[in-house]
């Protein structure tokens, strides 16, 4: 009802199932072998700078950024490069190269150059350090952070929004991060505000995490900070953590169709990314590990810090193994996560959760035009029209219904009484339009 409240947007309320919310972050054992895909971010794949047989250390750069929108990759174990293989990406399903490293178990480090005087760093130095650390957005989209922090000069950033919503069911990695590493997050935010010359920031957290809200409020009030940082409690509604809905909820602004948050003077960043920025600047640690929530049908659901490239099976084994009838493994949450083909799939920078469950998909029935998808869509679209047009191969008509505006949050398919996999149809439609545009 935008008439009465311009901050309201549609969404759904799936059961939270945050069973790991009270589990302290643990460190998973070091992997015996890591598989590091060269494309772990949005943008050009990185270029390998090691070859088979090379000895590498933890934190050593093994691949360089392959373009402006790209990020380097660092080794997450110390050991020997055993081979470079081709593999299917766990996110995009494209085939790309991956570096396989056999760990020697010594865990020898090389860190980044740690700047001595952090207050005196120039913006460029900070950006270079962030780029060298291979930091990408850890909310799931994995957009290279140094690019996001360099908006074109005509886009003045006046507000930063920190995304601590974690609206996906099951996942608690950001929640635990805010509880256990709140100071690091705030320091990361200060660096970011400095880089963007912006003195106003919001930290948006869903109200189902009162302890995180309280902790962040305490940390913000205790810091002697001249900037305006507001911790905002938001209603628990999926997809609150999608940057466009978050922006609307906090500021009442809408990002123009086809635009980015910076078009309305805002940068949205995930809390995990801030922690990574803090680690890179203050500790000289590149992005080699993250908090992963392991949940669902596993014996002991946990929040673990695990090195990238660890095969999922090793992390699952650490959590007591999966239930015998479980036949689905998802990287990410149940609403937007990607089902994986094998338990051996390695985690990447974007893997915030490993969810094990039993397949519960039901057969698709006829659309009864109930309008639930229209009612649920946070982008105010008519998702059922995409199904109708894709079924009839009328791809050009998809544009009349702004298909590009769809964020694929899955709210439509979640609520569909006829079990229609709307997101699948939408993905087919988008892919077909892209193909046509390319030709």
């Amino acid at each position: 009802m935008s008439l009465f409240n311009n901050k309201q947007s549609h969404g759904v309320h799936p059961p939270g199932n945050k069973i790991t919310a009270n589990k302290k972050i643990e460190r998973a054992p070091l992997p015996k072998k890591v598989i590091l895909p060269l494309s772990q971010h949005i943008g050009a794949p990185s270029k390998a700078i090691v070859k088979k047989g090379d000895e590498v250390k933890v934190g050593q750069k093994i691949a360089e950024a392959g373009g402006f929108v790209s990020a380097p990759i660092h080794s997450t174990v110390s050991g020997k490069v055993s081979k470079i293989i081709e593999m299917i990406s766990s996110v995009t399903s494209n085939v790309g190269n991956a570096i396989v490293i056999d760990a020697d178990g010594k865990d020898d480090w090389v860190k980044l150059n740690k700047p001595s005087k952090i207050d005196k760093l120039s913006k460029k130095e900070i950006l270079d350090q962030i780029k060298d650390a291979g930091i990408v957005g850890l909310g799931g989209a994995t957009f290279p952070t140094h690019v996001k922090l360099q908006p074109p000069p005509d886009k003045k950033i006046d507000t930063i929004i920190i995304n601590g919503c974690e609206c996906e069911p099951y996942i608690t990695s950001d929640h635990r991060l805010m509880l256990e590493y709140g100071e690091g997050i705030l320091k990361g935010l200060e660096i970011m505000m400095n880089v963007l010359s912006c003195n106003k920031a919001y930290i948006g957290i869903e109200s189902n995490k009162p302890d995180a809200i309280e902790n962040m409020k305490k940390i913000v009030s205790e810091s002697n900070n001249s900037n305006e940082i507001i911790v905002e409690s938001l209603p628990a509604q999926y997809p609150m953590g999608a940057e466009k809905t978050l922006l609307k909820k906090i500021l009442g602004l809408e990002v123009p169709i086809g635009g980015l948050p910076m078009d309305v003077g805002v940068v949205v960043q995930n809390v995990g990314t801030l922690k990574a920025i803090y680690d890179a600047i203050y500790e000289g640690i590149p992005l080699i590990e993250r908090v992963v929530t392991v949940s669902g049908a596993v014996k002991e659901p946990k929040n673990v810090i695990s090195r990238f490239g660890t095969p999922a099976s090793e992390i699952i084994d650490y959590c007591g193994g999966s239930a015998s009838n479980a036949d689905v493994m998802i990287f990410g949450g149940p609403m937007m996560g990607i089902a994986q083909t094998s338990f051996e799939t390695p985690t990447t920078k974007g893997t915030n959760s490993i969810l094990i469950k039993k397949n519960t998909k039901e057969i698709e029935n006829n659309c009864i035009r109930c309008g639930t998808c229209v009612e649920n869509c946070p982008m105010n679209l008519m998702p059922l029209m995409y199904v109708a047009y894709v079924k009839k191969s009328m791809y050009d008509d998809l544009k009349d219904y702004w298909i590009d505006n769809c964020v694929e949050c899955g709210s439509c398919a979640y609520g569909c009484p006829a079990n229609i996999p709307l997101v699948q149809y939408i993905k087919v439609g988008k892919a077909e339009l892209k193909k046509r545009g390319d030709n």
Partner: protein, 352 residues
Amino acid sequence: MAEETVDQKRLVVSTSPHMHDKKNTEKIMYIVCLALLLPIIGGVYFFGIYTILVVLVSVITAIITEFLAKRLRKREFMMDGSTIVTGILFALVLPPRIPLWAVIIGAAFCIAIVKEAFGGLGYNIFNPALAGRAFITVSFASLMTSWIAPVTSIMSLDSITSATPLGEGFSYAGSTSDMYIELLFGNVGGCIGETSALLILLGGLLLIGTGVIKWRIPTIYIGTVFLLTWIIPGQDPVFHILAGGLFLGAFFMATDYVTCPMTAKGQYIFAFGAGLLVVLIRIYGSMPEGVAFSILLMNAFTPLIDRHIKPKPYGFIPPEKKSKFLLKKITKTADVTDNSDQSDTNKKEGKK
């Protein structure tokens, strides 16, 4: 990957989301059936046990027809409950002493022609129950205009001819408020399931409470009829909303997912149009009752409404504003002597 072990567990891969709401078509339809029990009870109470037979025959005919139609169309037959809903609704809009052969013909028409011939569930343009009723009305006009007074006992098969409240020759002996109460409870002549506004309202509230339907269509529909009959001199708005099939139509027929618009705005238009048509037909038309035709006519408009009433997508900038936005950009670069714009331009160029 080359190194995969042979005895690997096979995983199921599908698109997100991997979670689903508990709601499904079947559940929705059975909730509607449950809500429809109330008007059925009303029908039995006011018009005797025969009406139960009408409902049963209608439902069974509907299911058999659906089964045969699916066989003919080489589609899988599934009991999703929607056929039962159609069967019940069709029975509820028939006169209490309708012969069973007419029920069979009508119910078969509802499913075979109105629903399956158009492609089955979700593809029909018109509400099957109402289209079936219209078909019977046109084919057997005398059957559809013989009304009886409420019976004295449920087991009674009496059929004392009586006028419906909206029909010609209807008069109520008591006070107006007594008449309202009789209309509210349904102790008047009329179709099997339409007379008791109260029971229908309870059923409707159950549907709204369980989230099966939204408040919009019933409220706007009934509200429009009330307001219009209030404005038009010589009409009694309370009488108009309680008499006839308005409540049944508003809560159970106009809200039919398949044949009403999907967007909130579209539903407002649909409900207002239907309300307007009811008043026009009742007061200026040749028929005493207009609910069925008002909904059927608006059903015909639904595809048009859905085509043109789309929700404003997130971040949508209307074309005029966009061109103004562009114009502003152009004038900026053209260095028009506007001070603020000028400085902006300079800044930009300086940065370049």
